[in-house]
Subunit: 326 residues, 2 copies
DNA sequence: TTGAAAGCGCTAACAA
DNA sequence: TTGTTAGCGCTTTCAA
C-alpha cells in the first residue's frame, strides 16, 4: 500500500537505483532526471522507509537513552540536551526506564541492541556495571552520564562533583558559618561519594571540626531528604546551615521545614539548580550542573565512537559546576 | 560480524526457517530441535535483529510520543504511563519534542512515519491539527492526549476539565469564599477554555457575580503565572482565593508571592497534583489529573487501532479528576 | 549518467 | 516436523 522507490521509479520512467540516488543526493545524476524524480516523489507523497534503509546500510540513526526514571526533571533535562543535539545529526531517541533496578537495566539494554540502535546513553541506576559489558559484545558504543560504575569501561560525561561541593562549603564558611550539616546520598554511588568528599575536604582545609551527628546519608529521594532534615532538626543543637547533595532531597528537606512550620534560622545549600529551586524558600546557595551541556557532550562523544573514532578511549569528561548565590 | 539466524542454523545443523520458528515459538517444532537450537543461540549469543524482522513483518513494535517539551513533569508523567503500558505489549517508545511549534511538530511526525512507528501519541502544542492529517495518509493510527485540536479527527484521552474546575470552585464557595480570582491559559487551547468554563459555570450556579478584573489569562507558563499573580495582587481589592489553571502557572504564582513576601491572606486552588505541589505553600485545593492512567489509556486505545479494531472511532475518553483538599 | 542485480536478516508460503 | 525459496524496500557494486 505505501509508496516505494519502485512506484516512484515507474512513474518517473527510471530505475529504482536512480530514485535512491536522487534521495541520497548522489552528485552524479543529471539535473533533468533529478527534477523529474523529485516531482514524482512529491506527486506520490513518497516517504523513505527507514527500516529498509537501516537494514541495508546497517545504521538506524537512532540512539537509546536509558535512565532510572522518566518523570524526573533532572534526567529529562539531560534528555533534552541529548535530543536537541541528536537532532543536529539527524538522529532520534528511544527513551527507556530501568525503574532503578539492574535486571530491567539489562533487559532494556538487550532490547535496544535488538532494535539496532547506533549507540546508547546510560544514566546508571546503581554503581554496578558488569552487565553493561553486554553492549560491548554487540559492538555498540555507549556513554555513561552523571555516574560512573564498577566493572565497565566506557566514555562518561559528568560534573566535577568534588569541587562543586567544595566551593559551596567554602562560600558558606566565608560567610561566617561553622556548623554546616550534610545530607548525602547512597555512598555506593560515585556522585554521592564525591560530593561528600568535597564537603569534608573544605571543612578540613578551613580547620572546621567534623561533627558526625550532623552528617546524614539517604538515597537521593524526596522522602529521604524529608526524613533526614527531620533528624537534623531534632538534634539538641541543630546546624545553622545544611548542605544537601541533590535536588530531590532538597525538595524533601524543604517540605519538612514547611510542613513543620520551622522557625529556627536555617539555610540550605544544595546541588542542582532546577527551574523550581527558586521557590525552595530556605535555599541560599545552589550548585548548578549544566544539564543540557551534559546531554550534548554525551551525544558528541557518542558520535565520535559511532563514526569509529576511538581517540583517547575512555574519555571521562568532567564539566564544571557553577555556584549560584541568592 | 554480528550473529545471524544463518550462523545459528549452520551450527545447529538446521535451516534458517527452523531457527526463526524456534525464536517465534512456533508450536509445530520438535522438542529436540528446539532445545538444540536454543543451545546454539546461547552459545553464539545470538540476538534478534528487529530491523530485519520489522521489514519483513511490517511492524516495528515501536510507538512515537510527540510532546511540546521534554523536561516537563506533566508531560513526562504521562510518558511514564505510556512507557509502562507499552512495555506490557513488548513495545518501545521514541520520544520527540515539537518545541511547541507547528513546523517542528509536522517535521517530527514525518520522521516518526519514516521510522515506521506502529502508532503515534501526541500532546499537541497548539489548537491547530490540520497538519496531523499527514499521519492519516500514512495509515498510522494516532491518539491525542490532554488536548483536542481543530481539523483533525482522532481518538483522544483527556480529563473532564469542566467538572474539575467546577468541583473545586464549588468547594471553595462552600467554604465561604466569594471573591475567587482566576488565572487561565491561552483560550485557544481546549484545556484552557474548558477549565474557564467550569469556573464560570460554578459561579453562576451559586449566584456569585463574575468580576472581570480578577480574571486573568496567560499561557500556562511559570512566567505568566508569576506576572498574573502580580497583577491580581496589585489590585485595589485583591481576591481572597485564586484558582489557577495549571501546575506551571501555580509555580509562577507561588514564586511571586514568596519573592514579594506576601502577607495578604490568599489561598490557591490549582489544576494538577504533582510531586512538588505539596510544597507550594499557599495551595489549599488541588485538582488531580490521573497522569499515569492518561498514558496507559492512550496506549490501550492506540493498540486497538494498531490491531485494526476501529470500534467507535473516534473515541474521546474523558477521565475524571480528583479533588484534593489540604 | 543510468540500469541490472544482488543482498542486508528475517519470516512465511509452499513443498516435502 | 522441517527445508526451500521468495521477498519485505532499500542501497550499491558492477557493467554499460
Amino acid at each position: 500500500m505505501p509508496v516505494t522507490v519502485k512506484d516512484v521509479a515507474k512513474l518517473a520512467g527510471v530505475s529504482a537505483a536512480t530514485v535512491s540516488r536522487v534521495i541520497n543526493n548522489d552528485p552524479r545524476i543529471s539535473l533533468k532526471t533529478r527534477e523529474k524524480v523529485i516531482k514524482c516523489i512529491e506527486k506520490l507523497g513518497y516517504q523513505t522507509n527507514d527500516i529498509a534503509r537501516s537494514l541495508k546500510i546497517s545504521k538506524t540513526h537512532t540512539v537509546g537513552f536509558l535512565c532510572p526514571d522518566i518523570p524526573n526533571d533532572f534526567f529529562m533535562s539531560i534528555a533534552k540536551g541529548v535530543e536537541d543535539e541528536l537532532r543536529k545529526y539527524g538522529y532520534s531517541l528511544i527513551i527507556c526506564s530501568s525503574n532503578g533496578n539492574i535486571d530491567e537495566e539489562l533487559e532494556r539494554i538487550k532490547l535496544l541492541c535488538s532494535k539496532c540502535v547506533d549507540g546508547i546513553i546510560i544514566i546508571p541506576s546503581t554503581n554496578k556495571g558488569e552487565h553493561f559489558n553486554f553492549i560491548n559484545s554487540m559492538k555498540i558504543p555507549a556513554v555513561l552520564v552523571d555516574r560512573l560504575v564498577e566493572d565497565f569501561t566506557a566514555d562518561a560525561v559528568l560534573v566535577d562533583n568534588v569541587n562543586g561541593s567544595y566551593s559551596a562549603i567554602e562560600h558558606i564558611i566565608n560567610s561566617g558559618y561553622k556548623r554546616i550539616g550534610f545530607i548525602g546520598g547512597d555512598m555506593r554511588l560515585t556522585t554521592a561519594k564525591e560530593r561528600y568528599e568535597g564537603y569534608i575536604r573544605a571543612l578540613k582545609d578551613y580547620c572546621i571540626p567534623i561533627e558526625e551527628d550532623i552528617i546524614k546519608f539517604g538515597d537521593f529521594s524526596i522522602e529521604s531528604g524529608y526524613n533526614l532534615m527531620g533528624e537534623l532538626m531534632a538534634l539538641k543543637k541543630c546546624p545553622d546551615y545544611v548542605f544537601i547533595s541533590n535536588y530531590f532531597m532538597h525538595i524533601g528537606a524543604t517540605k519538612y521545614l514547611v510542613e513543620n512550620n520551622n522557625s529556627y534560622p536555617i539555610s540550605i545549600a544544595s546541588y542542582d539548580d532546577m527551574e523550581l529551586s527558586s521557590i525552595l524558600g530556605f535555599c541560599k546557595v545552589l550548585i548548578r550542573q549544566p544539564m543540557t551541556e551534559i546531554g550534548s557532550r554525551a551525544v558528541k562523544t557518542l558520535m565520535l565512537r559511532i563514526e569509529d573514532d576511538s581517540t583517547g578511549f575512555p574519555q571521562i569528561i568532567r564539566l564544571k559546576t557553577q555556584l549560584i548565590c541568592k
